[in-house]
Structure formats: C-alpha cells, structure tokens
C-alpha cells in the first residue's frame, strides 16, 4: 500500500505537490493522471525518499521508504527509463541493483526473459531504443518481486505489442494482490488497464475514484479527464 498524507513539495517558488493525500490499495491497478507538471513524477520521487517533502508524509506499507532495509523486495519503481549508465550492459545494470539487495543472478535472468531482453542482455544499455530502456526499467522494478510497484509513463515509447504486453503485465501484477500505481497520458489505454484513477492538477488532488464512477457521467475516461482538469492546465506557473 502507498499512502500520501498532506504531502507537499516546493521547489523555489514552484509548488510541485500541494497537500496531496490519497491511498493506493493492493489488488488493482491505480492510474495516476494529470496534466504535464501536475506533480505525478514528483510524488513518486517523494514516495521513494529521493526528494525530501517540504511537509507531510509519503508512506509505503505504513512506513518510510528510507527505513526499508532491502527496499527492492518491497517496492519496485520505474521513474526514468533513461537513468542507466550508457556504457553498462543490461545484465550488469540489473546485476548491480540485484547485488545491493541480495538478489541472485537467476532472478536477473528471469526478469530479462520476462521483459523480452534476454537476447540483448550483454549489449550496452546506451544503445537501446526508448522502448527497450522502458523494458529494462520494468525489469529493474520487478527484480525483488515486490508487493508495491510504481511506474511513471512506462508505455512511453513502446510498440503496440509492448503496450498490450504492459496492460497484461499490470493487470496480472494487481491480480496477484500487489499494489500498482501507474502514470500515463494515454487515456484510452488507461481505461483498459486501471480500475481506480487518481487525478492531480497543479499538485492538488482533483479526483480519486473508480474508472466506472468517473465514466458514469461522461462518454469516456478521456472526456471525464478533460472536464476535471480543464482548470488545472497551467505549466510551471508560480503558485
């Protein structure tokens, strides 16, 4: 479970996340939506303890991420697919992460197989296409077989086959009882993947509901999203 409590993050005069509170429960895929600059990626960094909140709390399984001893076994995250050393092979990249959390080489081979990168495991990650990097990032998130997963725009750059694969993967992970938080700008895809939706705008909570509830009053999730965020599209403004 992921829980945000009055979470606030300010960068200079930009309020990136503004008293944001919501919970992400296990057992279903929770979609994380919002216009560019709404604070989705920042919220995820705060959950992982990468950035320190200005105020409020971000909890995973009831505790702070920074207190986890071998975090990859509890939480897996893909924040930025490009965040790999370009000269390191996919296998070594995953192995570096695995070693730090006492995960063996067999599991590394397994996740490489799972994301379809076994054939290029010894190739340098710098030469990977965006879609291949996304797959590598997903493999890293799955390394420790964690119960909580966060993916920041994982479909970005994937081919149609990959998009469908992600959809199945996310739903499968949720069905196994895991907590899955997934951000994306592709509404039709999100409608097919997620059961619950959290929408943020300008760092604040706009909606927290099931897909069924959101689409009840609108022809599609996209229409619901457009209506709900109409007043929050204002990039990087001081507020």
């Amino acid at each position: 479970m992921i829980e945000l409590r009055q979470l606030t993050k300010r960068y200079g005069d930009t309020l990136a996340v503004d008293e944001l509170s919501f919970r992400v429960e296990p057992g279903h895929v929770t979609g994380f939506l919002g216009p560019n600059g709404a604070g989705k990626s920042t919220s995820m960094r705060l959950v992982l303890g990468l950035d320190a909140p200005t105020s409020g709390q971000a909890l995973v399984n009831g505790g702070r991420y920074a207190d986890l001893r071998r975090p990859l076994h509890e939480v897996g995250a893909l924040l930025d697919a490009g965040a790999v050393h370009p000269g390191r092979s996919a296998y070594n990249h995953l192995m570096c992460l695995a070693l730090s959390n006492d995960i063996g080489a067999r599991r590394v081979a397994q996740v490489l197989e799972l994301v379809g990168l076994s054939g290029v495991a010894r190739k340098k990650a710098g030469g990977f296409s965006l879609g291949m990097k996304q797959r590598l990032g997903i493999a890293a998130a799955l390394l420790g077989d964690p119960g909580v997963l966060m993916f920041d725009e994982p479909v970005n750059g994937l081919d149609p086959d990959g998009v469908r694969w992600i959809r199945g993967l996310m739903r499968g992970l949720a069905e196994e009882g895991r907590t899955v938080l997934l951000s994306s700008h592709l509404m039709s895809e999100m409608a097919l993947t997620a059961d619950r939706i959290v929408i943020v705008g300008r760092g604040r909570l706009v909606a927290d509901a099931t897909v069924a509830e959101l689409t009840a009053g609108y022809p599609s999730l996209e229409e619901a999203y457009m209506a709900l965020t109409a007043s929050s599209v204002e990039y990087g403004a001081a507020r």
Binding site: A83, C96, N101
Partner: protein, 254 residues
Amino acid sequence: MRAVLASEWLKLRSVGSTGYAVGAAALTIVLGIVWTLYVVSLADARGSIRAAAPEEGFLPLVQVSLAVLGVLAITSEQADGMLRTSLAAVPRRGRLLFAKAAVVGGVTLAASAAVLIATYTISRLIAGDRALGFNDIGLLDGLPTVLASALSVAVLALVGLGLGAATRSTAAGIFSVVSLLFVLPSVAAYLPAPWNTRVASIMLPNLVPQIAGDRLSRRLGDGVLPPWAALLVLIAYGAAALLAGYLVLRRRDA
C-alpha cells in the same frame, strides 16, 4: 554492507571509464621505461648523471588518472540519473557513499601500488649499476616513498569522490582535485619564507616525502611535519572531502 560493496564493485568493473583510467595510470610504466632508457644512454655517454626517478616524475599522471576515476564513480551516476536508481536500491545515503569509498579506495590503492612498484623496480633493473642519481639508494630503501605515493593516489581518488559528491559535477570535481594537486602547492611555494615551507608542508603532494622522511624540494628544504603527522594530514584530506560529499548527498534532493 557486504551486498552494497559487491554492488559497487560490479558498478566500477562494468564501465569502460574504469579501464581507461587504470590504463592511463599504467602508461606510467611505459613512460618510466622510455625515460630510464634515455637517461641510461646519457649516462653511458657521460659516465654518470643525476636524473629524476620515473615513479616520482610521472606520479602526477597516476594521481590525476585515478582521481578522475574517483570523481566519476559518483558524478557519472548524478549525470545520467542512475543515482536515483541506486538510492532507491540503497536508501541509506551514507551507506552508499561509504561503499563507493571503500571500493574506490581499494581499487586505486591496488592499481597505483602495482603501477608504481612496477615502474620503480623495472627502472632500477634497467639502470643496473650505472649511477643515474635516482638509484643511489638500495632497492628496498626506496620502497617507503613508493608506498606513500600509492597511498596519496588512493587518498586523491577519495578526495575526488567526496568533492564530486559535494559539487555534483564532473568538471568541478576534477578541477578541485587538480587545484589540490598543482594549483595550491605552487601558490604556497611563492609565499615569503618561512611561510612557503610551512604552508607547503600541508599541501597534499608534499605529504608524500614527509611521510617517507625526505625533504620537500631543494628550494623548500625539510617539511615541518614528522612522518606520522604527515600521514594523519593525508588521511584528513580524504576524510574531509568524503564528509563534505556526505553532507551534500544527505541533504539535497537526488
């Protein structure tokens, strides 16, 4: 901690820049051979000469190459975003930096000791019983200086790691190391006496001769530090830089 050490060791081994840095440092062996052959030919023509020891003359090459390795161990992760992935796997930032320091310190100490001892030994073997100046003491008597030099290289790599973490920039990290190695000592040497010798005594490159009990240079004479104090100051350089790096790493958003 063992797990994080194993991870950092693989990180260092699995990037090309490590090989280049160690290769550049190892170039010293080749340069040392060329230099010794050259001064041997001069000595054969003139009888005897006073030449600089290759493991001392080319020491800056080893120092800079392996200090860059230390800087890159942290700044390359900051530049490509890998640091976030690393911190997600190891959220205790002090633990991550400590593991990096242990691996960088161990690798650079081993590499520099190997390169410097090889350069030292090969040059003496080539020299044979010719009087070249640098070989006027017994083979074993010169070893303390060689080992102190190797230690200074490892400390410089840790200074690079610490200042890289503190400045969060490869360029700034390398510039800091070069300043400590070349810029500050040459400024110190131009202070009025006796301050030139006093200040020069705590400059990083001048700690090596003091640890081995040698004079700083013909112009500056003997340093003011006894060997144990010089060793402590050397270690303090590494510790201070790592502390600065830790404080920044702990506070700042990744």
